[in-house]
């Protein structure tokens, strides 16, 4: 079962690459925000999975819970920025 969790975790990590792709490539800040949000949600699950792999999930659940509670604050703050500051210039990464 542990091995299974390990592979599930690896797969999640693999999926995280896609979200990270979006976060890195953009093109707008909001896209990055979406990507980051997706990474955050996967992180919650991964944390629990790691707990299961360590077989100490009771120690990890608090972290995951904290994550679930706090994850959206940054997103709210960033979107709040757009509420108050107009303009959204597009830019391509790595120049």
């Amino acid at each position: 079962m542990i091995t299974f969790f390990l592979f599930v975790g690896l797969f999640l990590c693999f999926l995280m690459c896609f979200s990270l792709y979006r976060a890195v490539v953009g093109p707008t800040v909001l896209d990055r925000l979406v990507g980051t949000n997706a990474i955050g949600s996967k992180t919650v699950v991964l944390l629990l999975l790691i707990g299961c792999i360590y077989q100490r999930v009771e120690m990890f659940v608090d972290i995951a819970l904290a994550y679930a509670l706090l994850n959206f604050i940054a997103v709210l703050a960033a979107s709040r920025y757009f509420h108050k500051r107009r303009g959204l210039y597009e830019e391509s990464p790595f120049e």
């Binding site: 120690m59 990890f60 608090d62 509670l69 706090l70 604050i73 703050a77």
Partner: protein, 275 residues
């Protein structure tokens, strides 16, 4: 600058790589780091302090002096942000904006308006401040949970990951969330600047006070086992209790300071509606 940076970086990297060759392998249980001092913590901490979370035990007892200064760093950061940014002078403003909440209409006054104090009107500083019912409602639901959970994290730090700092940051984050979902002025009207300062002060004084109390009771500074003289517990439990007390102090201070830093950065020290 770029080239200098690159040279420095490559030089540093090379030196570090050079040193890595002598390292014990990653995860080697027989490495000096794992065999010299740390076994004492692992094997004796539970016995000596009755705290199963070794990190908390080391943090708040064996190296409590460090942790006191860690709290102090945070405290100093709060004081520094206040000192740096806080401006008491009023900003020059072009007119007054007031929103009628039920309709969402923003009214622009040239001169200072005389508006009855009611919950239907809201003072604004800029043309538009989001007034999002969904976000406000959800946050209103979530806030107590976050705060409750952060208290749990502080209190349960002896048995599971967490402790004063983490709990404090979460509580601080809840205040930040309040400021983001409503606006800064609303949040500040709930938890004012004075209260935050008082909390920060209380937190560090709690930590330092416990330390000094131990000293007054005849032990060394921060030697919680001396608390057994005034608490009806034996020395090991006194250590655990002392740790909790200290963690609470850290939590209070961190909460306040996080809020102070956010408030000052988000409004550039003006304490208006902010971000």
């Amino acid at each position: 600058m770029k080239r200098i940076g690159l040279i420095v970086v490559i030089l540093c990297g090379a030196v570090l790589l050079y040193a890595t060759r002598d390292f014990p392998a990653w995860g080697d249980p027989a490495s000096p780091a794992s065999t010299h001092v740390s076994p004492h913590y692992i094997e004796h901490a539970l016995q000596e302090t009755e705290v199963p979370n070794l990190v908390t035990a080391v943090l708040a007892d064996y190296r409590s002096y460090d942790t006191m200064f860690e709290t102090l760093v945070i405290f100093g950061a709060g004081v520094a942000c206040f000192l740096l940014l806080r401006s008491f002078g009023a900003r020059r403003r072009e007119g007054w904006y007031v929103r009628h909440i039920p309709t969402g209409v923003v009214i622009h006054f040239r001169k200072r308006p005389r508006i009855p104090h009611s919950r239907f009107f809201e003072r604004l500083d800029t043309e538009w401040v989001p007034h999002d019912l969904i976000i406000m409602t959800i946050c209103r639901i979530l806030l107590p949970f976050i705060q409750l959970f952060s208290l749990y994290v502080v209190a349960h730090g002896d048995f599971s990951p967490g402790g004063g700092f983490q709990g404090g940051v979460m509580f601080g984050a809840s205040l930040v969330l309040m400021a983001i979902s409503f606006d800064l002025r609303t949040a500040l009207s709930r938890v004012g600047e004075r209260i935050l300062a008082l909390l920060a002060f209380l937190g560090v004084v709690l930590y330092g006070g416990i330390g000094v109390l131990c000293m007054l009771l005849g032990g060394e500074f921060l030697d919680y086992s001396e608390l057994a003289k005034i608490l009806p517990v034996h020395a090991e439990e006194a250590r655990a209790l002392g740790m909790i007390g200290v963690e609470v102090g850290v939590g209070i201070a961190v909460t306040a300071v996080m809020a102070v830093i956010y408030v000052n950065i988000a409004s550039a020290g003006r304490h208006d509606e902010g971000l």
